[in-house]
């Protein structure tokens, strides 16, 4: 199975999870899906056998509300049985609406925005202190960038020349209240991070081949952390969800579920050819 097929399969799993659990942030799950698939199936030195390996790569989903995509990937890779996800969002479940490090494969809890990058800085710093080979990855939302702590972390990452750190912005340009540029504008985002001393790569964030190249470039970059600004589409993969802020955390109706499933299946089949 190629990774494009995989991404549409994961999107179908997410659809089932959100539809059955009657909760979730499906729009952001779909914008970030290809970034997570690229990281987990291609880039990162991480697997269920390596969860305690000190040399494993580290990942923090800073935009923790996209946890449904992460859960489906972790289940698909065998970090826990897929069956476990039947309890998602149910009373007493550990599979809650944000990452929870009681779950195998999840390093740190997140959900409150603006934490992932500073924590990742600490992980990367520890790697530098130990002369370790692991790399640290975090994915943030673009609305999240209004948090001041993101910029505290950005400052420290370049100060300590953390070239073992790669951060990604899932730049889908929508947040709960509407356009990110209306709520609090971020442009020129690349220049902002460059001025903080980061190596910045712009990439189409729903294009797995382009993402592979961006992560490879990040790995080759020395003396500076890398920020991949991944231009994505919120709700990517389902026609009626794409670029619609309302799908930030809407649960599909039965009719919407059926249509979304058909579209994703068709795209998965096309990717197979």
């Amino acid at each position: 199975m190629n990774l494009v097929e995989k991404s549409y399969q994961i999107r179908q799993d997410v659809l089932d999870l959100v539809y059955n659990g009657k909760a979730g942030h499906i729009g952001g799950d779909y914008s970030v899906c290809d970034i997570l698939v690229t990281l987990y199936y291609h880039v990162m030195n991480m697997s269920p056998e390596k969860v305690k390996d000190p040399n494993r790569d580290r990942f923090i989903l800073s935009k923790g509300h996209s946890v449904e995509s992460l859960y489906c990937i972790l289940a698909d890779q065998g970090y826990f049985p897929k069956e476990d996800l039947k309890t998602y969002s149910q009373f007493g479940s550990k599979y809650i609406g944000h990452p929870n490090n009681k779950i195998n494969g999840i390093e740190m809890n997140s959900g409150s925005l603006g934490h992932g990058l500073p924590v990742a800085v600490g992980m990367a710093l520890a790697g530098k202190m130990d002369g370790a080979s692991y790399r640290v990855y975090t994915v943030m939302g673009d609305g999240e960038l209004a948090e001041g702590s993101v910029w505290e972390g950005a400052m420290a990452a370049s100060h300590y020349k953390l070239d073992n750190l790669t951060a990604v912005v899932d730049r889908n340009r929508l947040q709960i209240s509407g356009s990110t540029e209306t709520v609090m504008h971020h442009e020129d985002l690349g220049k902002r991070f460059e001025s903080f001393g980061w190596h910045v790569i712009h990439a189409p964030g729903n294009d797995i081949e382009a993402l592979k190249k961006a992560f490879a470039e990040a790995k080759e970059t020395k003396e500076a952390p890398t920020m991949i600004i991944a231009d994505t589409v919120k709700g990517c993969g389902v026609s009626f969800m794409e670029n619609q802020a309302v799908w930030h955390h809407k649960v599909p109706s039965e009719a919407e579920y059926i249509q979304a499933k058909e579209e994703l299946k068709a795209k998965e089949a096309r990717a197979r050819e």
């Binding site: 580290r58 740190m108 997140s110 934490h115 500073p118 600490g122 992980m123 790697g127 202190m129 972390g153």
Partner: protein, 310 residues
């Protein structure tokens, strides 16, 4: 008069361990001087992390270091550490369960005349209300050393608050009774119990001496472990003495008084009085002037105890 501040003892103990414990890391937010950590930064530059004036980043970076096996000690003024970075403590330290030790220096009204921005009269309330966070306010340099040795051997998050200046010894060198998470009985007594933490323990001890001269037997409990509080010691105090006075360098809400009264009311109600800083910006002045103004001294405590027993 002792010249060694409790915060300096923390630096001394960390330096003694840092030589053989290479995972021990100290982090400061442009606070190496104010937290007495300059000697550590100078002697162990490889084990020292400067974050600049960015307390949120300070705590998150520490949590990231801890998740990769480091043993971070975060030293920053208590006023900023306990409020500016409260969410980082809640999420990255307590909730993610990382072995981060937070050292809040110059706590309470140590910064006296600098005003409310620099007072930390809410740190027991903020940090103590977070599930999984322990809160310690050692009373003197000897107890600070014993506490640090205990904390160095565990893997759980904790917050330690110290004052700014050297304080008189409560205990004698070489005779420092200390059991982790158990209140220390400074003075035995049967009429009234004075439960204090941090710099208020000395005042409580002096109050007990005054009361003794008037024939009143006061027990003094050094509740350096504000959380987890020594519940058994509080219950014994309620059962064995007629009244309890709590004394703390903290506001009246969410501190030692509330924690003690929760135990007392549900186990063995006795008369209580809570002595604290006010629920208002504190008056300006040196620490001792502020304590005196609010009656947080031997005379004030003894007076309160007598009122309760009357």
């Amino acid at each position: 008069m002792n010249k060694i501040a409790n915060k300096q003892v923390i630096c001394d103990v960390l330096m003694e361990h840092a030589e053989k414990e290479k995972d021990l890391i100290v982090l400061c937010s442009d606070s190496r001087g104010s937290s007495s950590m300059t000697p550590f930064a100078d002697h162990f530059p490889e084990q020292f992390v400067e974050t600049g004036i960015a307390e949120q980043n300070l705590v998150s970076i520490a949590a990231g270091l801890a998740s990769c096996g480091k043993k971070p000690y975060v030293a920053s003024p208590a006023c900023f550490l306990s409020t500016r970075s409260m969410e980082q403590v809640k999420v990255d330290v307590a909730y993610s369960h990382t072995n981060v030790k937070l050292v809040g220096v110059s706590g309470g009204v140590s910064y006296g005349a600098l005003g409310m921005t620099h007072h930390s009269a809410q740190d027991i309330a903020t940090i103590g209300s977070i599930p999984g966070m322990r809160v310690y306010l050692p009373s003197d340099r000897h107890q600070t050393r014993a506490l640090m040795e205990a904390l160095l051997s565990d893997q759980e998050p904790a917050y330690i608050r110290t004052g700014r200046n050297a304080v008189e010894d409560v205990y004698e060198e070489g005779n420092v009774p200390f059991v982790m998470d158990q209140a220390t009985v400074v003075t035995e007594g049967t009429d009234v119990t004075l439960i204090a933490c941090g710099e208020m323990v000395l005042a409580a001890k002096q109050a007990a001496e005054e009361l003794s001269r008037e024939g009143i037997s006061a027990r003094v409990l050094d509740m350096y472990c504000v959380k987890p509080i020594d519940e058994a010691a509080v219950i014994r105090a309620a059962e064995e003495t007629k009244a309890i006075v709590t004394i703390e360098e903290h506001g009246p809400i969410g501190g030692l008084a509330g924690m003690v009264s929760q135990i007392v009311t549900s186990h063995h109600p006795v008369k209580m009085a809570a002595m604290s800083l006010p629920d208002a910006p504190c008056i300006a002045g040196k620490s001792q002037e502020i304590f005196d103004y609010y009656g947080l001294n031997a005379e004030g405590i003894a007076k309160k105890a007598k009122e309760l027993l009357a």
